[in-house]
Amino acid sequence: MRPIRVVIAKAGMDGHDRGAKVVARVLRDAGFEVIYTGLYQTPESIVATALQEDADAVGISVLSAAHKHVFSETAREMRQQGLDDVILFGGGIIPPGDVEWLEQQGVRRLFLPGTSGPEIVAWLQQAVSAQRASGSGG
């Protein structure tokens, strides 16, 4: 199987990139190709990156309390650009009460503080292989 390609991004005015870097490193060590965008991305720039990189998945880390805006706008932009088959996931400081709403917006999975690296790896591997199997030429 060709390597899984994942975009890891930080959005908006949020400089706390330690979690994103840890996840990027964990995925790298699990054999993924991680495209790391760095800080201060917009939903538009994240989706443009995912499109050009032909990513299987996009992970966004939000610790600025702007998670509702960031995830819903990114999900909307992904649909608009035809990236319905790209898996959107994320993590950060997100109140458990917001999780259901965010999932309704199109976020496939949110990893809250305390999640282990192997848990993220295993979920992504499973989600991407299911997506590739259901996709057209994936």
């Binding site: 060709r2 699990a30 190709e33 495209i35 760095g38 991305q41 050009q52 990189e53 032909d54």
Partner: protein, 325 residues
């Protein structure tokens, strides 16, 4: 890719990519990276369309500022009204196969510009500073209408200079503090330069590095009518970038005016055919000689040497050593 259905879907993907659809182009790049069966059909369609772009290689040691410089170059080309493709290569782990592709971090100003297409590539075990499919991805960017394609290598040491076979013009980015004058006299990387960028030119030792490079160029007798200009840059501030763009244009004019362009294209063509032939020969042999693994084990156990093994494999494949010689 086999069968008429896949074939027609590939043709449709090519149609859409050549009509300007970015997602289709991105999909094709993935196929070029990972699907050896689809690659010939893609290349035969795009290759004739890929000749017009100026291809600029940017190479140099890790941390020299290649990505920052590529970002500023892209901005400068955009200001001239040119569209830009960027192929940015970072290393894959030889242990896990994973990669952290971080060149985009320095290119954030370009993300939302529809006139710029950036593709990060992992080297996937290919030595030489590029990924195996990098050259084909460059061709695809050119074929889909990018006026300028910039290819950024992994951070290189002294010898990984495959980029010269892909690029029309190669920029070697150096920074002060990496060694004395003798370093500039060694073979390899520095010989690859059509243009030098001495980046971080505000750091101590930049003048010294420029002097060392000048001496190195002065001592040389390449016989070429082109002497690589040395441009001081501070990529993070954009300083020196206009001069660098001027030097690149100067080199491109030189290539076309001197006939060197065709000579280089011919050399590159030989290398390209060579690479494809090797790949095809190896897969033909692998198909015809199921015992390849057995030979590998014998060599590993020193029951057989690699030359004898190769000879037997060739005979068994029907492509005999005599036949090839």
């Amino acid at each position: 890719m086999e069968g008429p259905e896949e074939h027609s879907s590939l043709a449709a993907l090519l149609d859409r990519a050549l009509a300007g659809d970015g997602r289709s182009a991105a999909r094709l790049m993935t196929l070029l990276e990972s699907d050896v069966d689809a690659t010939p059909a893609i290349m035969s369609r795009i290759y004739p369309l890929a000749g017009h772009a100026q291809v600029i290689g940017v190479t140099g040691p890790p941390g020299a500022g290649k990505s920052s410089l590529v970002d500023k170059l892209a901005a400068a080309f955009r200001a001239q009204g040119k569209t830009v493709g960027i192929v940015a290569v970072d290393p894959s782990s030889p242990f896990t196969g994973g990669a952290l592709l971080g060149d985009r971090i320095r290119m954030q100003g370009r993300f939302s510009d529809p006139g710029v297409f950036i593709r990060s590539m992992a080297s996937r075990g290919q030595p030489g500073g590029l990924a195996k499919a990098s050259q084909n991805v460059v061709a695809l960017m050119a074929a889909t209408g990018k006026d300028t394609v910039i290819i950024e290598t992994v951070g290189v040491g002294q010898e990984e200079i495959d980029v010269v076979r892909v690029a029309d013009t190669t920029v070697v980015v150096l920074v002060p503090g990496l060694g004395d004058a003798v370093q500039t006299m060694k073979a390899g990387l520095l010989e690859a330069a059509d243009v030098f960028a001495v980046n971080k030119a505000d750091y101590e030792g930049a003048e010294r590095l420029v002097k060392d490079l000048e001496l190195m160029l002065h001592l040389g007798s390449s016989g070429s009518a082109w002497s690589p200009p040395i441009v001081k840059t501070i990529a993070t501030e954009g300083s020196g970038v206009d001069q660098l763009v001027g030097s690149l244009a100067g080199h491109f004019d030189y290539l076309q005016g001197s006939g060197e362009y065709l000579k280089r294209r011919r050399r590159a063509a030989v290398a390209e055919i060579d690479g494809v032939l090797r790949g095809q020969l190896m897969s033909a042999i692998a198909r015809r000689v199921p015992a390849f693994d057995v030979y590998a084990s014998q060599v590993a156990e020193r029951k057989c040497d690699p030359y004898t093994a190769a000879d037997r494999i060739l005979r068994e494949s029907g492509l005999t050593a005599e036949g090839l010689g």
